[in-house]
């Protein structure tokens, strides 16, 4: 039996559907990441799971029981769940009291609270801040207090809403390490909303992609990132090349696809004549000045239309009859003197192409 389950869950605000028909099952010990662009409904879903809001339709089940119960029962259920809000707030009191409040509300003895809180402050690296007013802390520290406060009550479910948004990279990676540590230590369910898909990939067992209030795909991270179900997911998971074409032949799942008169080969089971979109990650495209002799089935000549540096990598767009984006290292780009107008060969494997139906 899943610990958290939603059935045909809808949420509506100001006449607009914010969540549409969400069916989600999360088992004990599972880490589930909700990814999706800002405004997709991630926070709304977490709030419904934590019983902070009431759904417009559908049901949420916690440990098999409908959460639409008396306030007393809901309180008991809610006490088994912790939620770290996207913009965490601290109470205007000491760090210690902030972390202790959940335990106090559960009627724990002060000795037990002291041991528990001190242990957790040590885990989150805030031991020295015990007596400080939590309002004087920095953004990263506030986030750590919020996580400490949430895990102090030893919840069965930890809900995290964009735990590293609004943080600098150093604080963000500390928080991520902390979350990874929490996941390792306790067998709790973690449901985490994030718009950082790589964070989802690093921390979660399973990922659900939420776009415009709909759970468009859920599955393992590899599946989501390499086999997106539709164009929206493909765009969100960084498939920068999404090119429309038509299947012109398919023999034993090796299909030839016509894109603006250029033929590429891809592994897919779409039938001849079907209108499809070809998805490809820019890092799967190899760029060379001469035709490579490799096992890759696709090698297209084209001219570079623009290049732009992005950290240690260089993003190159090649006009091969259709625009194709590739990622090369800055070093390779310099060695090959890649610039606008350079003629290059773009090589990619038939298996690195993911074909989806065109809508």
């Amino acid at each position: 039996m899943p610990l958290i389950e939603t059935r045909d869950l809808w949420q509506r605000r100001d006449g607009q559907d914010i969540l549409k028909n969400i069916n989600l099952r999360v088992e004990r010990g599972e880490v589930f990441a909700l990814i999706g662009p800002t405004g997709a409904g991630k926070t709304t879903l977490l709030r419904l799971i934590d019983m902070l809001d009431t759904p417009a339709a559908g049901k949420v089940f916690f440990d098999g029981a409908d959460v639409n119960a008396s306030e007393k029962v809901r309180l008991e259920m809610r006490r088994r769940i912790s939620f770290v809000l996207q913009k965490p707030v601290v109470f205007n009191t000491s760090v210690y009291d902030n972390v202790a409040c959940g335990l106090r509300w559960r009627g724990m003895g002060s000795k037990h609270i002291r041991e528990e809180v001190e242990g957790i402050l040590d885990t989150v690296g805030l031991t020295g801040y015990k007596h400080r007013n939590a309002r004087t802390l920095s953004g990263g520290e506030v986030q750590r207090v919020a996580i400490a406060r949430a895990i102090a009550v030893q919840p069965e479910v930890l809900l995290l809403d964009e735990p590293t948004a609004n943080l600098d990279p150093v604080s963000a990676s500390r928080i991520e390490e902390l979350i990874a540590d929490v996941i390792k230590r306790a067998t709790i369910i973690v449901i985490m909303a994030t718009h950082d898909m790589s964070q989802g990939q690093r921390l979660a067992d399973r990922i659900g992609v939420l776009v415009d209030g709909e759970m468009v795909q859920s599955g393992g991270s590899r599946e989501i990132f390499t086999l997106p179900r539709n164009r929206q997911v493909a765009e969100f998971v960084g498939m920068e090349n999404i090119i429309d074409g038509v299947v012109i032949s398919n023999e034993g799942e090796m299909a030839a696809i016509d894109i603006n008169g250029r033929i590429i080969e891809a592994v897919t089971d779409f039938d001849v004549g079907e209108e499809v979109s070809v998805c490809m990650r820019p890092e799967d495209v190899t760029v060379a000045l001469a035709k490579l002799s490799s096992s890759a089935r696709n090698c297209l000549a084209g001219n570079i239309t623009w290049t732009v540096s992005a950290g240690p990598l260089c993003r190159v767009e090649i006009d091969c009859g259709f625009p194709l984006v590739a990622l090369v290292t800055i070093r390779s780009a310099e060695e090959m003197a890649l610039k606008k107008g350079t003629q290059v060969y773009a090589t990619f494997k038939a298996v690195s192409i993911h074909v989806i139906r065109r809508h």
């Binding site: 912790s82 109470f91 409040c101 406060r149 009550v153």
Partner: protein, 228 residues
Amino acid sequence: MTELWNGLVKAVELIISLDPEVMQIAGRSLMIAVSSTVIGSVICIPVASIIHFNRFRGKRFLVSLIQTFYSVPTVVIGLFVFVFLSNTGPLGGLGFLHTPVAIVIGQVILITPILLGLTISALSGVDRAILDTARSLGASGLQMAVLVVKEARFAVVAAVIMGFGRAISELGISLMVGGNIRGFTRVITTAISLETSKGDIELAMALGIILIFIALVVNIVMNRIQQR
């Protein structure tokens, strides 16, 4: 002008020499106003929380009504309390008329709208995210209300101090239901009124200075609180 200057000098003398009559009147004033404020706060802070935390029909109207009564004239309250506590009134049997208790009752009624209204405003100022956080951490309704009052404590204390300021400076209630009985219900404001009419400007001024001094202390405390 000379009369004013002489009055001021005499007033300072009365204060410095801790004149028994002046001190007794000031002490009684403080005692009555503090009692009213404590009783008013004990009633109004929980009631304000109940109003703030519950949704019901006419809530907005109720809050507007409470705010309207911020500036209710003290003589009107004096009149009502007098009618209730007078021998022929419904509570006449209690024998409270012309006692400090009657003044306290009147002052509690006077400051109730201020305490309620300003406490509701203070609680409304607490970030919604604080409520969500408390709820998500498993706070019950009562635990949440206590937390929110704690979060709004500075604004709530400011409301209490405002109430105290209104109580100690009022004249109408003390005069009408206290009766300005020497050594029993005479407070600063009633004494000033009486001494002025008798022509004892020095005593009236000494009491006036004390009242202003109390107002000054209250203001300093309030500013301190609001700067935190």
